[in-house]
Symmetry: C2
Subunit: 344 residues, 2 copies
């Protein structure tokens, strides 16, 4: 297996032999290999043991032939050493037992040194790099401050983000203090992943699309920008991702990132135009398209590739993570379609 650098080339908007493809949540419950490991270990156990994390990271690389590996981890991991009591309750998603709501709460959060306190994650990065042996690039990642803040303020997942926005609106100083602490930790965490061997990083601001553009600019942009500027100095490409971001794209772009993620709610060509052609784009198949019959799925893959065909700099991906019930053979088929249809 020769070096596959089409993902990294596309991040830099260089010509590639064909469009690179990987999937958010490409290691996960839709794969039998992953379910076999999860039958024996909890999510946090897998994240805590570098050998297991590395094994799970590599599963989709071997099974699907994707053009990038992404470290298996959870965006909430850095919160635990910061002082957040986190549990993944069965079928419920993350539960945080000491949600943050006041200045005093924010002050208790520790600004950790990821090299010390997330050493197991960095060890997994090193293991995966060794296993991949230069054949497939490895993406590191972290949650963005807004998305992390929403979990620790709400105490878990949320539908309307009432407490999160309340903190913003009621006490913007406390909000900014929290965001600033999170940004500091995330920036050093991503740099540590890069130093351990991550060849690109993705900043996941998955839930930021619940904000208006005005709120994004005031309450989020400065903090995500700190992180993306720090990563820029490291020289590896950064992907800046969110969902529901059609009206936020100019601001996400201003915050930074060499590659901007797009979801399926915006046509890829229109989204790219909004972002500007001096950035690469990643996306944007609806994850539910993977449930479609093969001919319909093919039409949808072709449409995205056609919209992206005018210039280099497109990384094929979904608009959000792979859903648990997804047929694995369709995921595999998309990898083949993307490579075949985009041959240059």
């Amino acid at each position: 297996m020769a070096l596959n650098d089409r993902f990294l080339k596309a991040c830099r908007r260089e010509q590639v032999d064909c469009t690179p493809v990987w999937f958010m949540r490409q290691a996960g419950r839709y794969m039998a290999e992953y379910r076999a490991i999860r039958a024996k270990h909890t999510l946090l156990e897998i994240c805590a043991q570098p050998e297991l994390a590395a094994e799970v990271t590599l599963q989709p690389v071997h099974a699907l032939g994707v053009d990038a590996a992404i470290l298996f981890a959870d965006i909430l991991l850095p919160l635990m050493p910061m002082g957040i009591h986190l549990e993944f309750a069965k079928g419920e998603g993350p539960v945080i037992h000491n949600p943050i709501g006041s200045r005093a709460d924010v002050e208790t959060l520790r600004v950790i040194d990821p090299c010390e306190e997330l050493a197991h994650v960095l060890e997994a990065v090193k293991l995966v790099r060794r296993e991949l042996d230069g054949k497939t690039p490895l993406i590191g990642f972290a949650g963005a401050p807004f998305t992390l803040a929403s979990y620790i303020i709400e105490g878990g997942s949320s539908r309307n983000f009432i407490k999160t926005k309340q903190l913003m609106y009621r006490d913007s100083q406390v909000w900014h203090a929290l965001m600033s602490k999170l940004a500091q930790v995330i920036a050093t965490y991503l740099v540590a992943q890069i130093e351990a061997g991550a060849q690109a990083v993705q900043l996941f601001d998955s839930w930021v699309g619940v904000l208006s553009p005005t709120d994004y600019r005031e309450f989020v942009l400065p903090h995500s920008q700190v992180i993306l500027q720090t990563v820029k100095a490291s020289g590896v490409p950064a992907i800046h991702f969110g969902t529901d971001t059609a009206t936020l794209l100019p601001l996400l772009t201003e915050a930074g990132g060499d590659v901007i993620g797009l979801d399926w709610r915006i046509d890829l060509d229109r989204g790219w135009e909004t972002i500007g052609f001096d950035r690469a784009v990643q996306g944007n198949l609806d994850p539910v398209a993977l449930f479609a019959p093969r001919d319909e799925l093919e039409r949808r893959v072709r449409r995205i590739l056609d919209q992206a065909a005018k210039r280099p700099g497109h990384i094929f991906n979904l608009g959000h993570g792979i859903l648990q019930e997804t047929p694995v053979e369709n995921v595999k088929a998309v990898v083949e379609m993307v490579h075949e249809f985009s041959q240059r």
Copy 2:
């Protein structure tokens, strides 16, 4: 109390003395008066008894001084006589015991005559009109075919709309047959409400923002268009509402509606420009802004009014329904702010 026609004038983009305001879900659990009724009656009981529905409809008109009443009902009501077994399970939202998935299922759905089978709703319209005595206009409403289809295919609320999109992608003929039946019923239902006295109607396509523009055009637009053209012929204004629709606005506008609803994810002025100034707009305060301190809430109300100030045709509303935990005094304050700040 004199005739308040600023809502209807704004629908027609005529000059008004000040901006009209009403709230989606303005009758609901955030109000003590409503909770008192709900302590004695289920949601379906209130909907089934015209006197109760009328009483609940009028509660926010009296308590808040809004510029329009909206009939108290549920978007799922027309589905029951069509043959859907619907239950509102405690704390769970709607549960449908016979979800639709096949051509045979679609064929079992009855195209009802709303004058017969939703007579209780029409009776409530008449009662409310009588009580309002011309002082405040009454809005009728219905769920749009996509949003209704999503409930009856998923069997209730949904996060990812997998079954709904699967039906679209796998069997577009069955999809269109279902949408067409729903559109036929909804069109006659809205006309029946108008004939019973509704002075405007709103079509709620609350969940349509999960679709890409391409899917909206193919699978939804023709059906919503049938309804909105039928309503247009009746001569009363129609409001076309969805959430998460930033990229769908040109298509929602093409489907029809004298007034297009906007959520907070798009700046009102930019949204209006996208829609075109030959339509009125409704929106677009984030429902969570109602949890903000008064000065912050005021800033947010002013910002929306400023963005809308260039021309007539703005109806102030939220970007989605009032949330259950909302402080009622803030809702009342917004009515006063809108009226005061927009004085002409």
